[in-house]
């Protein structure tokens, strides 16, 4: 019963997102019939596929609206970090001055969503690449193009990202 509720909630959420994206497609109303049918089918598939994953560990926290606002604000610091890393890696491409290695650090994030946000931010920034995340301990294994410390703190590798991931999803 609980599983069914979880699937239904995910499917409804996916349908809302789909409908927001495909607004003003209809000739007589907001949505055309074909869009509604396609959206219903697709949201059922999404609900069945991801329902079990989304709410397991703290996914319900994203129901708080201020977390979505923080997620939007996060674009700013992410872009600044991305710009700095892009220029840094551009210079490394030209000079060939690299010192690669896989380092381990523990950002102490509990929820799946916070780990996903952090891992994606790390991978999106040139120069750092998440290779693996330990399911149990939550430790991150990150391929780092310029290893300055064999056992770095999270801040050394990815700056303010862990704090933001905690703010948004924990």
């Amino acid at each position: 019963m609980r599983r069914l509720a979880v699937w239904a909630a995910t499917a409804v959420f996916a349908l809302v997102v789909y409908l927001l994206l495909t607004m003003w497609t209809g000739t007589w109303g907001l949505w055309s019939l074909s869009e509604l049918i396609a959206g219903a089918v697709m949201s059922c598939i999404v609900g069945a596929a991801c329902g079990g994953l989304l709410w397991e560990r703290g996914g319900w926290r994203m129901l708080m609206p201020h977390r979505w606002l923080l997620l939007v604000l996060y674009v700013g610091p992410l872009f600044v970090a991305m710009a700095r890393a892009n220029i840094d890696v551009a210079w490394r491409v030209i000079t060939g001055n690299i010192r690669p290695g896989i380092v381990r650090f523990d950002p102490q994030l509990k929820t799946d969503l916070a780990r996903t946000i952090l891992a994606n931010s790390i991978t999106l920034t040139p120069g750092t690449l998440t290779v693996d995340v330990s399911e149990h301990s939550g430790a991150f294994y990150v391929h780092w193009i310029n290893v300055t410390d064999d056992s770095p703190t999270p801040e050394q590798v990815c700056g303010g990202f862990p704090a933001w991931a905690r703010r948004i999803a924990e």
């Binding site: 991305m82 892009n86 060939g96 690669p100 896989i102």
Partner: protein, 112 residues
């Protein structure tokens, strides 16, 4: 307005070119993914922002639609690309490819 579009496209093309150069210069799969990430972040951000500016400067329904579609493409690109890169890197490591020139490999000690 045209000058702005040209500048944005030029910066995008420059970073995409550097990304391609990184594929040639870097030694192994992991460092090459770093180079590819550069293409998807700054290369595509600047190219797509160029398209968005073009769309809005055209104005009207068609230009606006073009701009919004380009923005959506950027949003989903930035959302899905790191997942793919991560899957590639993890698959490569599980497939037994060791990072070249590595000064440290904590994953090896941590897992086995």
């Amino acid at each position: 307005m045209n000058a702005l579009i040209y500048i944005l496209l030029a910066v995008g093309a420059l970073f995409n070119g550097l990304g391609a150069l990184a594929l040639l210069r870097f030694p192994d799969v992991y460092t090459r993914i770093h180079g590819a990430t550069k293409c998807t972040t700054f290369g595509s951000i600047f190219s797509i922002v160029g398209v968005v500016v073009y769309g809005f400067s055209q104005g009207g329904g068609e230009g606006g639609t073009l701009a919004v579609h380009a923005l959506l493409a950027l949003f989903f690109l930035l959302l899905t690309n790191p997942t793919g890169s991560h899957a590639l890197a993890r698959g490569a490591y599980r497939g037994g490819i060791k990072p070249a020139q590595a000064v440290v490999d904590r994953l090896e000690k941590g897992k086995r």
